[in-house]
Amino acid sequence: MARTRPLSPHLQVYRPQLTSMMSIAHRASGIVLTTGTVLLAAWLVALAHSAESYEMVSGLLAHPLGQFVLFGYSAALIYHALNGIRHLAWDLGYGLTIPEVYRNGHIVLFLTMVLSAGLWAAVWM
């Protein structure tokens, strides 16, 4: 019976809080980013194949739905990168007290929004 329970994390028993939500978001964005590598692979394979296949893939990505997917991917990338820096700082022993963990958590969320908006402002201008 012991083998059927999850080893970690026990998502069901905790009250949602910033720390746990950001940890789960780190995992979720990591899964999205790894899975989304298929898009990069498709784009490159189309580019290597022919101008026609490249135009087709470019057309799909330029479609509003494609742009929405790219926006989601970039936001996941920026969040995972910033929260990854937070993790690396923790690994080096910095920012580990509870007030600091909340403060750097808020900084990561704020910068994710600012950099995502800035990135797409740069793309569309």
Partner: protein, 121 residues
Amino acid sequence: MAEYPAGIGHRRRHSGVSHWRWQRCSAVLVLALMTYFTVLLASLGGLDHDGATALVGHPANALALAVLVTVGLWHGTLGLQVVIEDYITIKGGRLMALMAMRAAMAIIGLATLWAVSRIAL
């Protein structure tokens, strides 16, 4: 040897410390290369076929992209391994999920490397 629940003591060829260390090392490399390509792509906006071919075909970019995809997929493989080990508790199912995930990562990686080398060479 004590009886551990599934997952602990699994895959004894590699230690947890080396998994942890490589995840961090790959993270730093992916962070640097991803920043470079994100800024590069954002500054260019839309790319037509010739522009994209010139960009990916540039030797330095092709090399950087090949390294990014290889190390990035490796980083993703290490991450997905932890997710699978945390949530798939049936022993056979876990092993199958791990192998399927690694096979998928290998296919994506090989397709990308084939494309990049075809464009650049």
